[in-house]
Symmetry: C2
Subunit: 328 residues, 2 copies
């Protein structure tokens, strides 16, 4: 029987999950849940009901895993523990500093109700975390490096758009190639924030706005831009729509470490992603882990899990025998 | 209490494990076992006993995990099921086609005796398998590519050395850069054996040997060289020792896959290794998984495991709480 997936929240992530489920024949999209008026939500999948989020628990027996597609700032800290009372759930909570607190809340709710919940799934946190952790366990005498990009940072784009005189804008985070090469050489460089990434902004100014002032305001913005070499390009709304409407992202996790009785040999473990669509890739990761969560629940496990806790075989539709034969 | 490791076989892998254990404060090297005369084995670690392999079972209560460092052709098919009767064991069995048979034999022995056994640990099979599997589960509509090198192939070096007139030799497997780039571009190319790798040989000929004949024999050797563009360099024994005494290796696992309702977005997941010492890195992977095996055994699990079956957290000396706080 197919794994019945519910999607709560129909934004970029919800749409990505909707598409990803079609690539997995062992899964079935059972229902959408929305905080908007269900009648106003037009999905890409005919025949799948759209329910009010408030009524979700009435449908708990129709869903094997509920995918929570809200934001980390205010939605998920409330939603994940709440829905874990009724469903096996999975989220992409990405506020690193608040993960321990979120884990504790979700773990309590999931254990009390006998469900499996998984938090912070995606690529960072998620696959990048997994690679940092495994590479560190394999090469304990070493150093970790994470680079992000080239990709669109939603937070930085939002920060630009809040500036007076800015109509629209998009920001790309770009890893510095020479820093990547220094890390790959095994020289274990100490790198400052400025040495690791640059920031490139494409800004649509309002008519008559003071562009020099906008540029200065961007470049001097604390936390967001002041510590980076930042380039600002002013372009038209048409150019922005034509050339910058995608949501690409990616990055690199590199561990450089030594082995041998005298640390005489160096090794580089590198994991990288080059993504045309950040939300669609994140959705694909979520869907693979939803398969794992469903299986763990069937085994009778309960409580909160992260990528560290899931044996990789649970992600695959193939049996252990098939995996060993074809992929080991 | 430290995890007590036993090493059976003191070749490159055994030495690598001996060194790796020193980087892991939660582990302790408890004993070496050898099929040679124990008195003739000089290890790098004073105070650790060297026992005869035949007497290993007399020491079963002194060892938490026994690392089997024999070869895949004839040693491990016998050793792993045999020692799984008395110990939790781990091997690096790498004959891909015989993994299902080896798994079945080891699983039976480990289940009957109540031990945990792990097979085919290292980087390929091992970390590369894990990455192929996970990337395939995340991007089901895609294609896998594995490239090896630049690195020394022991099997190909041996094949060269068996040729008449060859005194010594070493072979490097080299991935073709343009093929790697084509894969990374997302074009999903079909690549022949010849298009993916080249082979470079450094050969020391015996005095008076017919070098042209040796070169032709290498280049036309079926399976090993005939399907590749192969370069042969004749050098002196001194040059071989000076420039080619290392055992570097590495490689790339790349998955290129599409997402979206119409497959409109492409994604590249790439995992790569650049290793100064193939056996020392393999040893480091084995040691991290030994930690996992010891923990699984303490939980009461039994039977044969592969990298697909182990939740990543088991590899790390850190607690779940520490992992979530510092690495997620």
């Amino acid at each position: 029987m197919a794994i019945r997936i519910g999607i709560l929240g129909y934004g970029n992530l919800g749409r990505g999950i909707e598409a990803a489920i079609r690539q997995n024949p062992d899964m079935e999209l059972a229902a959408f849940f929305t905080r908007r008026d269900p009648a106003a939500v037009k999905t890409a999948t005919e025949g799948v009901p759209v329910y009010s989020a408030d009524s979700a628990k009435d449908h708990k027996d129709e869903i094997d895993v509920l995918m929570l597609c809200g934001g980390s700032a205010t939605d998920l800290p409330v939603q994940t523990p709440e829905y874990a009372k009724y469903f096996n759930v999975i989220d992409s909570f990405d506020t690193h500093a608040k993960i321990p607190e979120h884990f504790a809340n979700v773990d309590k709710a999931a254990k009390e109700s006998g469900h499996v919940a998984m938090i912070s799934v995606g690529w960072d946190p998620g696959l990048f975390s997994l690679n940092r952790m495994m590479a560190g366990a394999i090469l304990p005498d070493g150093k970790d490096y994470t680079f992000w990009g080239k990709g669109v940072s939603q937070g930085h784009s939002d920060a630009i758009r809040r500036i007076e005189g800015v109509k629209n804008g998009k920001q790309y985070t770009i890893p510095v190639e020479s820093a990547l090469e220094a890390v790959r050489s095994g020289s274990n460089p100490e790198l400052t924030t400025r040495q690791k990434h640059t920031r490139e902004c494409f800004v649509v100014a309002e008519e008559g706005a003071d562009k020099a002032k906008i540029e200065a305001e961007i470049k001097n913005m604390p936390n967001y831009f002041a510590d980076y070499d930042t380039t600002v390009h002013f372009i038209s709304e048409e150019e922005l729509a034509r050339d910058h409407s995608g949501i690409p992202h990616g990055g690199f996790v590199i561990r450089s470490g030594k082995t041998g009785l005298n640390g005489e040999n160096n090794h580089i473990i590198e994991y990288s992603l080059k993504l045309d669509s950040n939300p669609e890739f994140t959705s694909s990761v979520l869907v693979a882990y939803a398969r794992a969560i469903c299986r763990l629940a069937k085994e009778g496990q309960t409580g909160c899990k992260t990528v560290f806790d899931i044996a990789p075989a649970y992600l695959s539709p193939l049996s252990g025998e098939e995996l060993r034969k074809s992929l080991l």
